[in-house]
């Protein structure tokens, strides 16, 4: 496992907030998985957010 540096942790905390926190409005999530991969910069530790996002899109579609 890649060791998390304080700088990684700062970026991780910010990205986690941008994608996981905040008001959820009944919009349409447009972030592509590739886009999210770019955002995460290889911080696999938070890739769970991608699954959350995809899961929500799937639930909304069904």
């Amino acid at each position: 496992m890649k060791e998390l540096t304080p700088a990684d942790a700062s970026l991780l905390e910010l990205v986690d907030r941008l994608l996981h926190k905040g008001v959820v409005l009944a919009g349409h999530a447009t972030i592509s998985v590739a886009g999210v991969d770019l955002i995460y910069l290889g911080l696999n530790v938070v890739l769970a957010a991608v699954e959350t996002l995809e899961g929500k899109q799937e639930r909304r579609a069904s």
Binding site: L4, A9, E13, R17, K21, G27, L38, V45
Partner: protein
């Protein structure tokens, strides 16, 4: 043309300098009752990327600097101004109440990373003299015990921070052991004018522990408190 949502804010809308959203495109205001939504006019053919996420953050900081605002989750898009208004219309009262809760406040984030060789981290090595079945079970048991020890220690760290901070528990959110490297992720809502002072206190507190490395970020928009829930808990809101 679609809209990429940024923040919910009260009327009257502020005159945001430049009026520019992501990639220099026009900022748009969609009003509903006494609140509204700031968003960027966007071509749906364009994919959002990492820079857009960071620009969304900087834009939120600009909005929060001039008026109370609730950050909207990054990536939320609306097909039209009418769709954006409709998403707010049924929730004006609860969103207005949430805006009142965060008005004049900012968020500070504390991350405690397990230090190298922290005591609770290493599972006990198996005894090579035992058989494979027993070794397998002992390894599992050891890993489980190690995980539980870490969780207990992380919970203890949260209690220490919350006690020292002396803030209402409803103004603290936390999560423990979200990943192998992170012991605690904690957010606290503080008055914006005291942000620098409170950040210094948090940095001092986070630096006190030998088994973790503390990182304090912010002040930034109240991401972790931008929910429309109105209940106030007696314990810090969090996940374990």
């Amino acid at each position: 043309m679609t809209l990429i949502a940024h923040a919910i804010a009260p009327v009257p809308r502020s005159s945001l300098k430049g009026g520019e959203g992501l990639r220099g495109r026009p900022l748009s205001w969609s009003g509903a009752g006494d609140i509204g939504l700031w968003s960027t006019q966007w071509d749906p053919a364009d994919k959002l990327d990492r820079n857009d996420a960071l620009e969304h953050h900087r834009l939120l900081e600009r909005i929060c600097a001039v008026q109370p605002c609730l950050p909207v989750r990054f990536g939320t898009a609306f097909a039209s101004d009418d769709a954006a208004r409709a998403s707010l219309a049924g929730r004006v009262d609860e969103l207005r109440a949430a805006l009142d809760r965060v008005a004049g406040k900012s968020e500070l984030a504390v991350t405690l990373l397990w230090a190298k060789n922290s005591g609770a981290s290493a599972p006990r090595p198996p005894d090579p003299a035992t058989g494979p079945g027993r070794r397998f079970m002992e390894e599992r048991l050891s890993r489980h015990a190690s995980r539980e020890a870490r969780k207990a220690r992380a919970a203890e760290l949260v209690e220490c921070l919350v006690a020292e901070l002396s803030v209402e528990r409803a103004l603290v959110w936390h999560e423990i052991c979200a990943s192998e490297a992170v012991a605690v992720s904690l957010a606290v809502l503080i008055p914006s004018e005291r942000a620098a002072e409170r950040k210094a206190v948090l940095e001092r507190l986070a630096g006190r522990f030998n088994d973790v490395v503390g990182v304090v970020n912010g002040p930034w928009p109240p991401y972790s408190f931008a929910t429309a829930e109105s209940s106030v808990d007696s314990a810090p809101r969090g996940r374990t």
